[in-house]
Structures are given as C-alpha cells and as structure tokens.
C-alpha cells in the first residue's frame, strides 16, 4: 500500500486563521481542500509538506449564493456544483465540466477551489518515486531537465483542470486572500504558462471565492476529450461561451482550451473572428481553424499529441455547432 508521508495537521476555522497559519509555517506548509489531487501526489512523493492546513473546517467554506451573478465558495464540492439548479440553468458549461471530472466519489470529495488550483500533469511527473528515480528526475520535481522537451528551459506539464477553461470562458473572477490582504482577479490571470509555477498567485494566498457575472443570455458549452467515459483527465477540453444579439449576431465570444498547454489557452483570434458575425458553417470552420493553431500539445499525456492537436479543431467546431443549435 502506498502511504502518505508524515505531517502535522491543522484545521483552521476561519479564512484568517488559515492564512495566518500558512504565514507561520511558510515553505513547510500546504493548503488542502478535498485532497484528491494533493494526496495522490504526496503518496508518490511529489510533495512532502511538514504541515497540512486543512480547509474543510472553515466556516462558510462551501456554498453557492446568488446575487449579481453567482458566488461560489472555493470549498464547494464538484457534485454540489453540478447539481445546483442555478448553475445548471445559467452556467450549464460549468455544471457539465464539474460533472465530467473523474468519478462520483472524487466529485464528492474534490472542491472547485482545488480543481482550479490543480497541479499541472505530465506522464513523466505523475509517477511513483521509484519510477521517477529510474527515469532520472525531471525539473518539475527533484531534477534538472525536461523529459518531454529535453532542450527546453521550462516545464511543459499540462493544465488538466476541467473547470478552469469554463470559468475563464464565462468571464469569472476569483477572490484571493493572503497575508498582504485580499484581491479579486480575472480567472484567466490565475494561470501562468509554466508547468512549474503555473499559478498567478503566491503560495500563501488562499482562493476563497469564484465569482461569475450574470449570464445575460450567454450560452455556454464544455466538451471533453478523454479515452474513457469516467476517471480520465481531459487531454483536451473546450469551453465556449457565446452571447447572441437579437438579430443573431454574436456580441461576445470566448473560447478557452484546456489540456493542451501549461495553462488554459484562450483562443483570442477565434473570438475576434466570431464577434459581430452570425454563425455559419464557414465561420465555424474559420474559428475552429484559428483555435487549432495556438494549441501546442506535447507528448506527455494519454494519446498522441498530433491527435490532440487535430481534435482541437474538431472539438471547437463541434462546440460552436452545438451552441448554434441551442
């Protein structure tokens, strides 16, 4: 049986306590919510924190509240999220994405906050210690070079969260609370294009809320490519959100790809092509083509990277087709 490395465990009752505890232990500490990403990694010794700060006991840690748009607390579990009537009604892509994560058991444990902060993944990294030892360690953990792109100065581990592309496509923001105070940033700014330092927040900042603007007629969809219809991480995720004017012209368009880079990739060019236009076969193909180009999957997930790249175009086209029919 694989074991967790020993640690000291704290269960703060408030966000402030959690942040203070972290400040106290600094590099030795790590936050944990559902643990469904962190614990497997700890068992494989990607992390050996001395101190675990468990977030689940925080007062008001979970829940979804309506206001101007919707506020989702970071500790909301994925199954709550996908079952929630408001989310299903107004942000169907998010409900879909949450529901497509892993398995029922993991969705009952995993949180939206944890999903957005999910460690990047790579076939050379998500392996047991002895496996990585046999390979020679890579730069994301304990080593010097990248095994996928040996000449590369950076790590190309893959952003594999299902929800992040959707939250970005829906124009979401996140609230971060840290020792230096609180800030709200665009969800897109939570990510950096680097497999190691993949988050645009400091380690001591706690993600507390996800804020989604009112849907305002925006239609959204999420499509996921994976080998099996359960368990598997996305090897490509396509989140698309479109708002149509009454004359059928597109007023607002966002397409975000997951699973093909170290961060969720926004297809800016595709969105530009769509804006102010009516959806047609040609336009869909043009937008899909434009989305396909920036995607640069490497050979470090399931399936081949050429296949994932090919599928980017197909999935974007399908997402747009589906939205045009909705």
């Amino acid at each position: 049986m694989l074991h967790l490395p020993p640690f000291e465990y704290f269960a703060p009752c408030s966000i402030a306590d959690a942040v203070n505890l972290f400040a106290q232990y600094g590099d030795d500490a790590i936050f944990v919510a559902g643990g469904t990403d962190l614990y497997p990694n700890m068992k494989r010794r990607q992390f050996t924190p001395k101190v675990l700060i468990g977030l689940n006991g925080i007062d008001g840690w979970r829940g979804i509240s309506n206001g101007n748009g919707v506020t989702i607390r970071a500790g909301t579990t994925l199954n709550r999220l996908s079952d929630h009537p408001t989310i299903r009604q107004n942000y169907p892509a998010l409900a879909t994405a949450a529901n497509l994560v892993s398995t029922p058991q993991l969705r009952a444990m995993g949180t939206l906050g944890g999903n957005l902060c999910l460690d990047t993944r790579c076939n050379y990294y998500n392996q047991e210690f002895s496996w990585r030892q046999a390979l020679g360690f890579c730069m994301k953990k304990d080593g010097e070079i990248c095994m996928v792109a040996p000449g590369s100065p950076r790590c190309w581990a893959v952003s594999s969260t299902d929800c992040a592309p959707v939250v970005i496509a829906l124009d979401g923001r996140v609230r971060l609370v840290g020792p230096r105070g609180e800030r709200v940033i665009a969800a897109g700014d939570l990510y950096r294009d680097d497999g190691i330092a993949y988050l645009g927040k400091t380690r001591d900042e706690l993600l507390t809320e996800i804020l989604l603007p009112p849907p305002d007629g925006t239609k959204s969809i999420y499509l996921k490519l994976r080998r099996r219809d359960s368990f598997d991480f996305p090897i490509l995720g396509v989140a698309a959100a479109l708002r149509f004017a009454s004359n059928g012209e597109i007023e607002n368009a966002r397409i975000v790809l997951g699973g093909v880079g170290s961060r969720p990739l926004e297809c800016v060019e595709s969105a530009r092509l769509l804006m102010g236009q009516k959806l047609s076969r040609e336009l869909i193909d043009a937008a899909a083509d434009a989305a396909w180009k920036p995607a640069r999957p490497l050979d470090n997930t399931d399936s081949t990277h050429s296949y994932r790249k090919k599928m980017t175009r197909v999935y974007v086209a399908r997402a747009l087709e589906a939205l045009s029919e909705k």
């Binding site: 047991e128 496996w131 046999a134 099996r228 368990f231 399931d302 399936s303 197909v314 399908r318």
Partner: protein, 809 residues
C-alpha cells in the same frame, strides 16, 4: 438425482464476499508479524557491481535485509526455463527486477530502509524492441543455457501436410502482417503473500496464487526445504486471469525472511510492482499467408509469429507453441505450417493471460478470413460455416475434436444481431449524437468472428505420470459432505462447482457440502487455475471420488430396505426405491448405517486427461480433452471525424458444453467480452526505453462501467463426452472472437482495416487518411523482421484430418 446441475445457483463463497468476510492475503495478520518491501531495479539492463545494505540494517525498526546471495537458486514455472532468481545476484534484466528486500516492524520503515540500500550498477545496452533482440551486437540478456540463440529464447517450426501442394491448389492467396499489442491482467487485487515459519521447521505461505502446487515446488527448490514441511495455501483471490500463475519473487522472499527472523512476514505489492511482475499477454507480430479455392475452401495456411517475451522465460515456451496450436480447431485446414519465435527483451516478463497465446493469432486469422470472404464476395458467416470442423475428427496437427457447436454458435449470433441481413438493429439511441450536424459523421458497422479454446492442457507443466487433479470426499456421520481439492477459485466459481457436483450425486442440498480447497497440507494436488482446466478436471475427479461412496451407501440402504441396490436412487435428501417409493431412507440415516458397516466414509478421485499428443516434439501444447467454441457479432459506431469507436453491442454465443451453472458460465462470457473489448480498444503495455509508461490504474486504460457495451449471451450446450455432465470450458474462449469481431465491424462501418491492437482513434484517422489519398486503407505493421526461423519439422497428418483434394493438374 437432485436438480443442482444446470440450475442458476449462488456460488457457495459469494456470501463471505458480500459481507466483507472473505480473507484475501493482505487481509490476514499474525501476531508479531513483520512487513516487507522489495527494492527493485531502476535499470533495464545492468550488472550488479555491489549492494550495500549497512545503512538500511541500522535503521531502527528494520529486522532483516536480504539480497540475492541469500536466495540464489534459480527457478521458473517451466522446467525448461529455470531462469529467475528471487532477488537478482549478478544482473538485473528489467526496471522492476527484484534486487533486495527488507523486513521491518511496519511498512513505512521498510520503505524508508529501501532508500538506504545502495546498489552500484554497471549499465548494459538495453534490448527493448523485437528488432533489437534480433540484433546480435547487443548484449545477451541471458546466458546460453536459457536461450536458443543469443536473445532468441525459443524457435519452433512445424509443417503438417503438404503446404506447397496446398498453395498450388489455391485460387486466391492472401498475405498480411498483423500485430497484437501486449496487455496485462490487471486483477483488482494486488499480489500479497504472508509467510510463517514455526520453530519445528514448518513453513506456511498464504498467497494470492492461482497455482499453489507450483509455488510449493518452487519454494522447496529455492529454499532447499523438503516439500513435506512446506504448506502453501491460496487465500481468497481478487482476480487472476493468469497473472497469479507463476511462482513469484515476493513469495520466496517472504518465506526466506520468515525463516531468518522467526517472525511472520507479509509482503503486499503496490500496483506499480504488479505491473512489473506482469506475465501478461505477449505482444505478437504475425505474418499470415492463406490459400483458398474460389468457394473459399482453405487449401493451406502458413502462420509465422514473433513474441516479445520480456526478460524471463515464464510460460513463454508454451506461449510460443500456443500462438500456432489452435488455428486448426475451428475450420478444416488440410496443410499448415507454423513458425514461432520468442525473444527476450529488457521488459517485465510476459506469460499467460486469459486465452494464453491464442487471442493474438485468432485476431489475425479471423480478420484474414473476413478479408478473404469480402474478396470472394462471400458472406463471412456463411463462408465460415461451410468449413467448420466435424465432431470426432482430428486436425492436421493431431488435435482431437470431440464436439463442436460452432455452427450453432454462428447461427445464434447472426440471427440475434441481424448480421448480414437488412434487419440489423438500428442505431442505439443513447449513443446517437445529439447534434444534428454530426449524425452523418457516425458510421455503424457489424463484424463477425469465431474462436476456440482448450478445456485444460493435456499435459502437466513438469513431466510426470500422476493425476492432474485429485479430490477427496468425506462423508460425516451427521450427513455433511466435505470435498477436498487443490484447485483455486479466482472468482470463476470452481469451488462451488465441486459442491454442486457432490450435491447432485448424493441428492442433497448444496448447503450440506463444504469444500476445502487450495491448501497443500489438506487437499490433494490440483495443478491450478490455468488453461481452463478446472471444471473438466476437478469435476471428473470429484465424480470419481463420489461414485464408490455412493455404491457403499446404496448397498447399506438396500440391506436395510430389503430391496436391490440397483432400484435405489439419491433424491432430495433421501435414498428412495424407484419401484416402491414407500421404501425410503433419510440420507442422514443411510450414512450412519454405511459408516457402521464400512467404517469411516471417504473416497478419492483422480483425473488425468486422455493421452492424445501427436507423434512430434511440441505436440503437447494444444492437446486437450475438449475444445470450447464461440462466435461473436460486434456492432460498432465510428466517428469518422474523431476516429472514436464505440462498441455498441456484443452478441456472443459460446459452446462450453453443458452449463453446470448457467449463471457462472454467463459470468465468464460477460467477463471475457469485457476483457476482449478492452484489449481491442485500449488496453496496452507501453514502454519508453525499458520503463513502463503507464504503471497505474489511471494510465493503463481498462473499461469503466460507462464504456462497456451491452452483451447478449447465448449458451450453446453440446454434451461433451469428456466433461463432467458434458461440460467444457468457459473462462477464456469467449474472449477470443471479440477483438477481431470489432476490427471486422470497423471495416464494415468505414472501409478501413486496422490490423493491430489496440484500435485507437488516431490509428483510425490515419487509416482514413490513407484511404482518402487512394492508398491501402489500412493501419498495421508493414513488414516482418528477417529472423532465423529453423527448418520445419515435417509431420504427417493423422488419418481422420481434413485432406487436400487435388483438383488442379
């Protein structure tokens, strides 16, 4: 007679399983038990220069550390392949090869200690692919005595009948290469072993093993203990599929450590380690050449295989023969040549997985036939039916067909699926694309394939004249019956079958029978749960053990009831006179009378398969008391834009002889279909250098509940003379036709041939691209390596084998 046989009854051990009481090896604990872990090689191929265990020994909580020098004696499942060591002494041969072991007070300490063992390696060039194995400039993985030639482990070539004449008679000859990827058992339970050595010199091992008898032998050899002082008990087993049929390093290590420390020692492998132990399906490259007449009648078949064996022999010699043995038991083939070769590579060793060595050639053969049928414009189902082997005949390679229900199997699946006719089931609603635009991109296809498998190997693994299976039956004066048999139940229900047979014979309730299995101290030898041998062999042994006992009981009852013994029968817990049913005796009274008359009531039975091996070396592989048959139709939908395949439905008809418990047979069929679909679409052992790419349940893809198609099962019950109550096998055969049926269905849907497994979306897209470009619409191996196959041994076919009729010149 009572009504047990043929009735859908619960398995007798199901109850413990549903309440969580069944004890699997890792569920067992003993007082003062130590926990052990094994240090495994991080090198694919290297010489061990030194191992320093000092730091590990000094870690508090560590009780013992051992290395290869403590257990150097070589072993292996086949007498001809004694090429493994429990812990490597001079050399490691794959990443994961066992190097040293630690026993400690708890697992975490043992794990920490592993990090403190320092091994110095001198790396050797790794041999990873089959082509590299044929390259003699690379280092040899084994010394000469274990290999036929350098890294070629085994070479065979056999020719039955006149191949040249066969091809000369052919109107159409098709040649093609195929590749069947390696994959693994992936039993949900990881292997575990608990060993205990008592001060009087008795060693006991509880293990998740399918073959306690072979483990028993390996322990005696490697530990240099008399077999009489070793007891091997198979714990409840969480799935096997062939993955627990070799004696394993961790079993020997646990025993050695308990002998050294005087304390019980448990080792439970991690999932990654189980991937390293492997012994699963060999990757097999195949070249097939088949000649047929214009009506499709086969005139000659030439089959060449190359198996990537991994680092050790394991069952590999048998596997090699199996890739050639069973091509002849389905269709009449008058001339057959088989060339097989197994090479060593620096990867986890391959061995037997469900269907042992036969799903790969079956995949190639059934696709090949589909291509021939299409070429000749014949219906693939009708075509096959014309040339099916006849009952009570022999094949060109000297295998004996007792009963063959294949024709009926084909009829059943064709009728139910509408294969080849207009009334094919329309598209399954749930799979239909919700998006209007995409409907045209989904293509539906149907494919058919057949298969056959043995009901137990005709020869034991080591040469001997003793029974393959033994049963002792004891009747208690309280009326209870105990059946003792060395067989292991890996979920298929073999333990329950013994209870059913005893209950049926004695006319009593199944609950009055206890079955004690898989304990080398208590139960007579059964060779183990492999090659689908258990039902036929233990069943026959059980009947043999019961029948003389029945006679004694009848005699005693007859004396009491004053009627002739012949007029009595066992029914519903009584012994009843068929001529006058007022004359009856309770079963419990009858056994008391019998015991008073004869003393303690027990009987023994033994089973040895009929001697049927042909007159040539290598003829032992493939012979069996009987063969099962299966036919499968697969319905698939293929998305031509994404290459994604969904298997919508599988119809499978299986001739497993008489179904002793239809529920269990259906379970075997459904489980086989599941595994066949997985192998066809996604299961695969892949390596990067010598390192396994995906040694986890997440990365090694197996079907989830959401990926599993609907299965419709048909049991075609022939009454086989060799089987207990007419039974044949069911555990492996139904897997065989599934992958080729899927490949054939994909062709039907989109007109491309995928001649290798797994059939992944990117391969489909590549084949479609070829088609679009006007090239051969196919994905698969293009050529076969140039390898030194030996001159074939020419064997005269038996009298009653299919004959080549000369029609041309």
């Amino acid at each position: 007679m009572s009504n047990v046989i043929g009735t859908p009854l619960a398995k007798i051990d199901s109850w413990d399983k549903v309440i969580g009481a069944a004890k699997y090896a890792d569920d067992m604990n003993l007082p003062r038990m130590l926990h052990a872990r094994i240090l495994r090689s991080t090198m694919p191929h290297a010489r061990i220069k030194s191992i320093d265990t000092l730091d590990a020994e000094e870690l508090p909580g560590v009780v013992a550390v051992i290395t290869g020098r403590d257990v150097p004696i070589e072993y292996g499942i086949l007498p001809s392949s004694q090429d493994e060591q429990a812990l490597c002494v001079d050399k490691v041969r794959f990443v994961g090869d066992a190097v040293a072991a630690v026993a400690a007070l708890d697992v975490e300490t043992a794990e920490r200690a592993l990090q403190l063992i320092h091994v110095e390696y001198e790396p050797l060039t790794p041999v990873v692919t089959m082509n590299e194995a044929l390259d003699e400039t690379r280092d040899a993985i084994h010394s000469g005595e274990h290999a036929d030639h350098h890294n070629i482990h085994k070479m065979v070539a056999l020719e039955f009948g006149d191949l040249d004449a066969g091809f000369a008679e052919a109107d159409y000859i098709l040649e093609e290469n195929y590749f069947y990827q390696g994959n693994t058992h992936l039993a949900l339970e990881n292997h575990s072993a608990l060993a205990s050595f008592s001060p009087d010199g008795h060693l006991t091992l509880w293990s998740s093993t399918q073959t306690p008898h072979y483990v028993h032998r390996a322990l005696a050899k490697t530990l240099e203990l008399p077999a009489s002082r070793i007891r091997v008990v198979a714990a409840a087993i969480g799935g096997g599929f062939g993955g627990k049929t070799d004696p394993f390093s961790h079993e020997i290590v646990a025993c050695k450590l308990t002998m050294l420390t005087g304390r019980p020692v448990k080792i439970t492998l991690t999932r990654q380690e189980v991937f390293y132990c492997h012994r699963g399906r060999h990757p097999v490259l195949m070249w097939v050449k088949m000649g047929v007449r214009n009506d499709g009648e086969p005139t000659a078949l030439h089959f060449r295989t190359m198996l990537d064996g991994g680092a050790y022999g394991s069952y590999g010699v048998a596997s090699t023969y199996y890739t050639g043995a069973l091509q002849t038991v389905t269709y009449k083939i008058p001339a057959y040549k088989f060339e097989g070769m197994r090479v060593f590579t620096n990867k986890p060793p391959c061995g037997p997985k469900r269907g042992h060595g036969t799903p790969q050639p079956r995949f190639a053969l059934e696709i090949h036939l589909d291509k021939i049928a299409r070429h000749l414009g014949l219906d693939p189902a009708e075509y096959r039916k014309q040339f099916i082997v006849d009952d009570k005949t022999k094949t060109v390679n000297h295998l004996t067909i007792t009963t063959c229900g294949l024709r009926e199997c084909i009829d059943r699946v064709v009728e139910a699926s509408g294969y080849g006719s207009e009334k094919r089931e329309t598209r399954n609603e749930s799979q239909e694309s919700k998006i209007e635009n995409q409907k045209s991109k989904i293509k539906i296809g149907f494919g058919l394939a057949c298969g056959s498998y043995l009901s137990g190997a005709g020869l034991p693994i080591y040469w001997n004249q003793m029974p393959h299976s033994g049963v002792i039956v004891k009747v208690d004066r309280g009326g209870g019956v105990a059946v003792f048999c060395g067989s292991t139940d890996i979920g298929q229900g073999s333990t329950s079958l013994l209870a059913y047979i005893a209950a049926e014979e004695f006319g009593i309730d199944v609950r009055d029978v206890r079955v004690i299995t898989a304990d080398t101290d208590l139960t007579p030898v059964d060779l183990g749960s492999y090659s689908s041998r258990v039902t036929v062999m233990t069943g026959n042994a059980c009947i043999q053990a019961v029948r003389p006992l029945k006679q004694k009981i009848l005699d005693a009852a007859a004396e009491k009831l004053l009627v002739p013994a012949e007029s009595l029968s066992f029914r519903d817990g009584e012994i009843i006179c068929e001529d006058d049913d007022a004359r009856r005796l309770k079963w419990t009274d009858a056994v008391v009378l019998t015991e008073a008359k004869h003393g303690t009531l027990s009987g023994t039975g033994s089973y040895k398969p009929p001697k049927r091996a042909g007159p040539y070396k290598g003829s032992g592989v493939g012979v069996s008391p009987s063969y099962s048959y299966a036919a499968c139709v697969a319905q698939v939908s293929v998305d031509i834009e994404t290459g994604q395949v969904r298997v919508e439905k599988i119809w499978l008809a299986h001739d497993g002889g008489r179904a002793l418990n239809p529920l269990l047979v259906e379970g075997q069929v459904e489980g086989s279909v599941y595994m066949g679909v997985g192998e066809a679409l996604m299961e695969e052992m892949t390596y990067r250098g010598g390192l396994h790419k995906a040694p986890s349940l997440l990365d090694y893809k197996s079907l989830t509940m959401n990926d599993m198609p609907r299965v419709e099962t048909f049991l075609v019950e022939t009454n086989d003379p060799e089987g207990p109550f007419g039974a044949k096998e069911a555990g492996q055969g139904p897997l065989l036709p599934v992958p080729p049926a899927i490949a054939n269905a994909i062709y039907d849907a989109i007109g491309v041939r995928i001649d290798e497994t797994p059939i992944t979306p990117d391969k489909i897209l590549k084949a479609l691209e070829e088609k679009e470009k006007g090239r051969t619409a196919r994905f698969g191996p293009k050529n076969f390596p140039n390898a030194p196959y030996p001159e074939p041994l020419h064997v005269e076919p038996p009298e009653d084998a299919p004959r080549l009729e000369r029609k041309k010149g």
